[in-house]
């Protein structure tokens, strides 16, 4: 496609960039997507190898963290604050869906009205009802396994494929939930249990995070991108954007990017959409400085990069006498509980959290805490295969002091300033984590686990809130249609758009937002010129 013909320039080919590009292309827009990584050859996935676990641990390999992979397409992210997060993301066509576990819950209606209901943070400028058709549409596009009818969530259409097996570890957790009379339900997963839209069903190998060459997991290189390309969208891989360009009137005109050989190019478009995740998107805005925007594009109010959220969590472990099957079956999650999801003031904190069963990696990962020496085999035999994981994911209330900034001391392979994140748990989050640790322990006790371990809090690979959506320039960077307040033809659509983080995994919401944003952008096509 010739550059002068481009209607919409999309930056980033992950969950948001793929779904938005397809939607706009399908409507008739000429779309070009710049992606700093490439297509991943599925025959190289670690999941195809018996030593697959080692590939998450090596530098320059399939690690979850760009700081460990250190590939040319990655960029460094330094981590600071009282609780510096472990940064996880993937830079390729498909983005972090390549590594993703496929857990696919939706926000609750209350998640969009946190200020109104709980007096904290901010309400979203959109409601669950506005997003609901896009959740449904996206599910139908990619295929979701699960079961409708959960009383803890608004009704949703029948899932495209039946629930995946929950296995012995799932049934063990069910016993605990039933004994305590707590809510539980089988998880919606972006992993199909039956063939769907020319994709093969899950064969339960259990290595989803190490790459799914079968295509059962709804990575966007296998779902949206083939459709978008068929309709005429173009992806330019190995193309790293240095900055968004603007004209004297303050309108975005395109971008300057490096190709794989380090050659610099300028690309023009009528509309620019940034879909680079909760760290990459503010980094790009902050790196796009000009006379009109000396502090970074869209950052006249100083809000770009603030309110960073990561979903603090706990990986609670139970050890049982019996053999469990936690290391086989879809790695995501067989079931979850929203028993503690909505605010209950008696608990001493606002908002709530999700508990969910989580499958484990293989024996190597489970050996790491086993002592060496004469007792090694006995200690390992008590743990493997007897472990059941229960993960806590808490609502991350946005704090203006948790931030993504530029780290001018470190640059990526093209000399562009790296990202610096600063994160500290709020008092509300600390209280919520304490409560959640007690709940998880109570549940595992009810399942008759003989040993329970509650580790220190960590965080999920959920990067949110840094180009937040809001009602005005006083409280946000983008409006309810993802349009940057001060740059009318510039949009930011990904986890960074979240006003609050909710207590569930974000991918289905990111994709629903992207489809909705595409419609809003298309509706304004007369304003593109």
């Amino acid at each position: 496609m010739k550059d002068e013909a481009i209607d919409v320039l999309v930056i980033g080919a992950g969950a948001a960039g793929a779904s938005l590009s397809w939607r706009l292309t399908e409507k008739g827009a000429k779309v070009v997507c710049l992606e700093q990584g490439g297509w991943i050859d599925p025959s190289t996935f670690p999941s195809l190898k018996t030593n697959y676990e080692t590939h998450l641990m090596r530098d320059r390999d399939f690690s979850l963290s760009p700081n460990m992979r250190k590939l040319p397409e990655d960029y460094p992210v330094t981590s600071h604050g009282d609780n510096p997060p472990f940064i996880m993301m993937f830079n390729a066509v498909g983005g972090s869906t390549i590594h993703w576990q496929g857990i696919f819950p939706r926000f609750h209606p209350s998640d969009f009205k946190v200020r109104t209901l709980d007096g904290i943070a901010d309400d979203w400028p959109i409601s669950y009802q506005e997003l609901e058709p896009y959740y449904n549409f996206n599910d139908a596009m990619i295929g979701v396994s699960g079961l409708s009818g959960d009383p803890a969530n608004p009704p949703r259409p029948q899932r495209q494929t039946p629930p995946l097996p929950i296995g012995k570890m799932g049934r063990t957790l069910v016993k605990g939930f039933e004994k305590l009379n707590w809510h539980w339900w089988v998880n919606d997963q972006g992993i199909i249990s039956k063939a769907y839209k020319n994709r093969s069903p899950c064969m339960l190998h259990g290595k989803c995070m190490f790459g799914c060459p079968m295509g059962a997991k709804a990575t966007t290189d296998r779902t949206y991108w083939p459709l978008a390309i068929e309709k005429g969208a173009e992806i330019r891989t190995w193309s790293r954007v240095k900055e968004i360009t603007i004209n004297r009137k303050g309108r975005a005109t395109g971008a300057i990017y490096f190709d794989k050989e380090g050659q610099i190019h300028e690309i023009k478009a009528k509309v620019v959409v940034i879909c680079c995740n909760g760290i990459g998107s503010p980094r790009l805005l902050l790196n796009s400085k000009s006379n009109l925007f000396p502090d970074g594009l869209g950052n006249s109010n100083g809000l770009v990069g603030t309110h960073f959220m990561v979903h603090p969590n706990l990986f609670v472990n139970g050890i049982f006498e019996e053999d469990m099957d936690s290391h086989i079956g879809p790695m995501g999650s067989p079931l979850y509980s929203h028993e503690f999801y909505e605010t209950d003031e008696r608990r001493g904190f606002k908002r709530g959290y999700m508990l969910y069963g989580e499958r484990s990696f293989g024996p190597l990962s489970q050996s790491s805490d086993i002592p060496w020496g004469a007792g090694h085999h006995q200690a390992f035999g008590e743990q493997f295969p007897h472990q059941v994981g229960l993960t806590v994911l808490i609502d991350d209330i946005p704090e203006p002091t948790n931030t993504v900034e530029l780290d001018d001391n470190i640059v990526d392979s093209n000399g562009i300033a790296a990202a610096k994140v600063t994160y500290s748990l709020s008092e509300n989050s600390k209280r919520m984590l304490e409560h959640a640790a007690e709940s998880a322990t109570q549940l595992l006790e009810a399942t008759e686990a003989k040993k329970i371990t509650v580790p220190d809090p960590s965080n999920m690979a959920h990067l949110m809130g840094t180009v937040r959506m809001g009602t005005s320039e006083g409280n946000s960077v983008v409006n309810k249609d993802h349009q940057v307040h001060s740059v009318p033809n510039l949009f930011v659509v990904d986890g960074s758009s979240f006003t609050t983080g909710a207590g569930v995994n974000p991918t289905s919401t990111i994709m629903a937002l992207a489809l909705r944003a595409a419609d809003r952008i298309w509706e304004r096509r007369l304003e593109w010129h």
Binding site: W39, P42, P151, G167, M203, D323, I328, P363, W372
Partner: protein
């Protein structure tokens, strides 16, 4: 990972198509990575004395016990050598580790008693934790990625491309109690 090579959309689609057909028909058996079984000329990476020290150190971490072999009995040292060959940046760490062990025991590590070897390793664990971490992590890695060990610990790896495990379909009746609950989400 070789994904930095040029991998076009066309090649990607073609690979997906054929892989899915072959996997679905069960005719594709993907080669399993097992670096420990490969013969190489990597022995020169560590001399005989260094390998002897490494053997005894690995076996103190994971000794034999009943049906369970020790780390070296299933090719632990050969695994380390293959790692050193594949990741040359790690070689100084292994060489430094062995030097620390030999220096600490002030005699041949292989000739002293087991209790003394354990004392040496505990000293290094306490005072040179970064070197000990290398020894422990790669000893465990050599052991728990070895296919000989898998049946002994009750692990079936099910690498993708092989036949997956049998699992019972989800039983919807398990949800009968929860399904009967009134909506618990806040309606807005």
């Amino acid at each position: 990972m070789g994904h930095q090579q040029a991998w076009s959309r066309r090649r990607f689609s073609k690979a997906i198509f054929y892989a899915q057909c072959l996997m679905a028909s069960g005719t594709l058996t993907l080669p399993l990575a097992c670096t420990t079984t490969k013969k190489s000329n990597s022995d020169i990476l560590l001399n005989d004395a260094q390998q002897e020290t490494l053997t005894w150190a690995m076996d103190e971490l994971i000794p034999s016990n009943g049906i369970m072999p020790s780390a070296s009995e299933i090719g632990g040292v050969a695994y380390i050598l293959s790692i050193m060959k594949a990741l040359p940046d790690l070689s100084p760490l292994f060489e430094g580790l062995i030097a620390h062990i030999d220096e600490q025991c002030q005699y041949q590590f292989s000739k002293i008693k087991s209790a003394e070897r354990i004392a040496v390793l505990k000293h290094i664990e306490k005072h040179q934790p970064h070197f000990f971490k290398v020894l422990k992590e790669f000893t465990y890695e050599s052991y728990y990625t070895n296919e000989t060990v898998f049946p002994l610990i009750g692990y079936e790896p099910y690498p993708t491309g092989s036949k997956g495990p049998e699992m019972e379909p989800f039983d919807d009746t398990l949800l009968d109690r929860v399904r009967a609950l009134k909506p618990t989400y806040i309606k807005i």
